[in-house]
């Protein structure tokens, strides 16, 4: 009874290798391939030498000791088994062409015996001109063409060793593929990512197993997340669908639900109710960890029961399938990306290419703030390059710059521009900014997120479909109303509804200037037939490479990756995959390959005192302040900053760290107690809850602080509930007026774990606009070089303090010698 989504069964990765593609290298030009004619083999091979001395077909025949071939039906001779015209011998090692008599008629003749038959001489044939079929370890190139250099460069670069290995494998498993050679055993460490790849097949060979590892891990963790004995509150949504509300307690480092996730709600039944279950989508999550689940089926819901429900996570492979599909398309479909981008992405040396477009006179765009010099430079430069990177340090106006680029790209008339980001939040922000320039924007949402509220709902495709034509006469509108009222349609009406809806979707998408979706969303079947030459990916440093590839393989010729490799990268749950390098973004690899990002240099977020350390430590001191001290003065706020000119301090904490109840995270009670005191002081001094953010690297501490504040907060409980307490990682891309950072780690001998990553420290230090308070143990943190210099920075500014909040004193705590340089 479960309604299967339209997408299921959709095959990702278009442009399958045709049957006649060379089994070694993938070349599929019919003029260049022949089929081995041995019945147990029948594989196709091309006539290119690649990296070996003989051509692929000759290599195969020699290695497999196969001797017969058949030409392709689209080759000049048509589908023909090569054989001696006289005796029918099919051994290609014996065959050659010869001119019949004096005329331009040629036949294939075998060397033994037909060539030595005296009768031919008598017939006046010139036997000395016999021309062997295989010459110089290659088939005659005028019979079987050698693929062009372009074709060869775009093909898999197979080595002689690989050929030997795969031929060996085919002896026991004739259907084996080259990928099977690379498959790691269950316990093997996967092959790590590289800087450069021979070809897209090698690329796929490296990344496909990593994506699989991550997918398996994700599936395993999510499907083990059943929760029993839940209490459910029932409601009905605006679209008349049944919504279940329940609290889904989130434990340390475990699954985090996001809107759009699919859950199965179950009731095992009782005397008055039969057993029941239904699948639904998460449409809302409150700060109190309450989940709103919109159910698919409204019938039979036990709405008079509230207790004893169970919920399971329904894992979907869609995003992973799309990554695998994109890699496959990248390899086998020559039109998936331009030749330049293909070689560039694989790290091949490519001669610089200039995109010849007339540049606009102004680089800003209507509806957007004026651009500063580094933003103008970035916009101007990327418009002229086929591949470019923009590095946007915190608060430097990445979104505005991106929107301006998209505006000018769209005005070039090269078709629609595709704009993506890994997260829905970032896509929404960008869609809003681009729409402000006056361009027509369509925001494509996953079907599972259509009921999730969005700040740019009016731009979404599903909203536009519903509101395109609401006149009484519109068939689609009538059917939609009927469907909303009845919950379902008759099968013929449903068919009509779907066809009309699809046509309307196409019409709306086609009329847009810009399509915005997540990277994974770019693999949506609704975009399958569209081509996008110009693609911009924001937050690209937070996406894995295969994820980034999804929007690119739709025909890209010009790509702009925006991000900041000095902030946190993509989250990889599977340690094995992370170790092998799946956490490195494409942006980062391109930087390592020598692509220099355009860096935005003026930050508009932080009080100049707060930006100084991050600028010097992470951006070589290049970050300039676009805001003045006056603009970041907390007027009317009476907070005990030790040095009022520097609204920041490091609050020395000596309390011990503890392992959290789950055993997988840490907490620190003293720090939590002091966080509450600081929050209370802020609130008393006139700051409102929404201005404050509490961040910590550890989930254990996050949960503990939430709990502690709501129980022990000196003020009204509700005030503390409104304060956002989050992990550092989840706060990337966001800001608050005041940030309190709780470091947690405090021990004699162990390391500082999460805090070791300089990118996490960068993110933590750059969230605040007006002021920041850091709580931590300098004795422990100072062992690490970067923290040591942060502590020194605070100490030099007399902002390293201890004692009660109303009487903060400079701390004389001794730092440790930093042990090693972070590499």
């Amino acid at each position: 009874e479960e309604n299967v989504g339209e997408e299921e069964g959709y095959e990702y990765g278009k442009g399958d290798l045709t049957e006649h593609a060379c089994r070694y290298c993938g070349v599929q030009n019919p003029a260049c391939v022949v089929r081995c004619n041995i019945p147990s083999c029948r594989k196709w091979f091309c006539n290119s030498r690649g990296n070996t001395s003989g051509s692929h077909i000759v290599n195969h025949l020699v290695r497999a000791k196969h001797k017969e071939v058949c030409l392709h039906k689209d080759s000049p001779l048509g589908e023909t088994i090569l054989e001696c015209y006289n005796c029918g011998c099919r051994n290609v090692f014996l065959l050659g062409f010869i001119s019949a008599k004096t005329e331009s008629v040629v036949v294939l003749l075998c060397r033994e015996p037909c060539l030595s038959v005296n009768a031919l001489k008598d017939m006046n044939w010139d036997l000395s001109q016999w021309c062997p079929l295989i010459d110089d370890r290659c088939f005659l190139p005028w019979l079987v063409k050698v693929p062009s250099e372009q074709e060869q460069l775009r093909a898999r670069q197979i080595s002689a060793q690989q050929i030997n290995k795969v031929e060996e494998l085919w002896k026991t498993n004739p259907d084996a593929s080259l990928e099977d050679l690379e498959k790691p055993g269950v316990d093997d460490e996967p092959q790590p990512v590289a800087l450069k790849y021979e070809d897209a097949y090698q690329y796929q060979n490296v990344f496909a197993p990593l994506v699989k590892l991550e997918a398996d891990y994700d599936k395993m963790t999510k499907e083990s997340q059943s929760k029993d004995n839940l209490t459910v509150r029932w409601d009905i949504g605006l679209n008349k669908k049944r919504v279940a509300y329940f609290v889904f307690p989130k434990e340390d480092n475990e699954l985090r639900l996001v809107p759009g996730d699919e859950l199965r709600l179950r009731y095992s039944g009782d005397g008055a109710h039969p057993a029941w279950q239904s699948v639904g989508h998460v449409i809302k999550l409150t700060a109190q960890e309450e989940v709103a689940l919109e159910l698919r089926a409204s019938q039979g819901v036990p709405v008079d029961v509230n207790h004893g429900f169970t919920v399971d996570f329904v894992w979907k492979s869609t995003s992973f399938d799309r990554m695998q599909g994109a890699m496959k398309t990248f390899a086998v479909d020559e039109t998936s990306v331009s030749g330049y981008i293909y070689h560039h992405l694989l790290g091949h040396e490519v001669e610089a290419q200039v995109v010849r477009n007339t540049l606009p006179r102004r680089f800003g765009a209507p509806g957007l703030p004026e651009l500063n010099a580094s933003q103008v430079f970035a916009v101007k430069s990327v418009l002229q390059k086929p591949v470019s990177l923009i590095q946007g340090p915190p608060g430097t106006g990445k979104t505005v710059t991106s929107a301006a680029i998209v505006y000018h790209m769209a005005k070039q008339g090269q078709g629609q521009v595709l704009v993506c980001a890994p997260s829905n939040v970032a896509v929404d922000q960008l869609a809003e900014k681009i729409s402000a320039t006056g361009l027509k924007v369509v925001r494509l949402c996953a079907k599972s997120r259509e009921a999730v509220s969005s700040p740019v709902e009016h731009l979404t495709l599903h909203y536009q479909v519903r509101h395109l034509d609401t006149s009484e006469k519109s068939e689609l509108h009538k059917l939609q109303q009927l469907k909303d009222e009845q919950g379902e349609l008759s099968s013929s009406d449903e068919k009509k509804y779907k066809a009309l809806k699809r046509a309307t979707e196409r019409e709306i998408s086609q009329s847009a200037d810009v399509i915005c979706c997540t990277c994974v969303g770019a693999g949506d079947p609704r975009l399958a037939n569209f081509r996008y030459r110009q693609v911009l990916i924001d937050e690209s440093t937070q996406a894995t490479e295969p994820e980034c590839l999804i929007p690119l393989v739709l025909g890209v010729k010009q790509v702009v990756l925006v991000g900041d490799h000095c902030q946190l990268g993509p989250v990889i749950m599977c340690k094995k995959a992370a170790r092998a390098g799946l956490a490195q973004s494409l942006f980062e690899r391109l930087v390592l390959l020598g692509v220099k990002p355009f860096r935005l240099q003026v930050q508009y977020r932080m009080h100049p005192s707060l930006s100084e350390f991050p600028s010097n430590s992470f951006y070589e001191g290049t970050l300039q302040n676009g805001v003045t001290i006056n603009e970041r003065q907390s007027t009317g706020i009476d907070f005990p900053w030790p040095v009022p000119n520097h609204p920041m301090f490091f609050y020395v904490q000596m309390g011990q760290e503890e392992i959290s109840a789950s055993g997988t995270s840490y907490l620190n009670r003293t720090e939590a107690a002091n966080v509450e005191k600081i929050v209370t002081t802020f609130l008393r001094s006139g700051v409102i809850p929404s201005q404050i953010g509490v961040i910590t690297p550890y989930e254990g501490q996050r949960a503990y602080i939430v709990n502690y504040m709501s129980r022990n907060g000196a003020l009204r409980q509700q005030l503390y509930k409104e304060i956002e307490v989050a992990s550092v990682d989840s706060f990337q891309g966001r800001e608050k007026d005041y940030i309190i950072l709780s470091c947690v780690r405090s021990n004699e001998h162990q390391g500082i774990g999460f805090l070791n990553d300089p990118r996490r420290l960068n993110v933590a230090l750059t969230r605040a606009r007006y002021g920041i308070v850091i709580l931590g143990n300098p004795k422990v943190l100072s062992k690490q070089l970067l923290w040591n210099s942060l502590l020194t920075h605070y100490k030099e500014r007399e902002c390293l303090v201890e004692g009660p909040l109303n009487n903060l004193k400079q701390s004389m705590v001794q730092f440790q010698k930093p042990k090693k340089i972070y590499s």
Binding site: V62, P76, F93, E103, V106, P113, L153, A160, H343, E349
Partner: protein, 124 residues
Amino acid sequence: SVSFKLKKQEVDPKEVEDFDRELRALMQESLDLRKLELRTRPTTLNMTIPMNVFEGSRDHGRVIEGESSEDTMDEEGSGGGTNKVRVKVLVKKGSKQQTRQMYIPQECSLVQGTKQKEAAELEE
């Protein structure tokens, strides 16, 4: 079109040597096998070439095709020569004979031979 430099991998000389050895062995084995077969079953010439394939070939059969040949199969990778000679290839489909047109580079020994012969014939 795109221009890029790609280092062509050097072919390992040992690999070339191994491969050549195997290829020669296979050729020899094929030959030996045939000779063995022939002892038990001698071949006769059993070749009928339908006369009509020669008909008219003097007039239109041999055409030197320039680079601008419209034959689209012949765009690239044909290796070296630009001028091509059209020939008829005689193949057997079952018991029936068929001819197919094909283009051979002018410098190929196949057509060189016939050219020389024609020249010789002309001199006679």
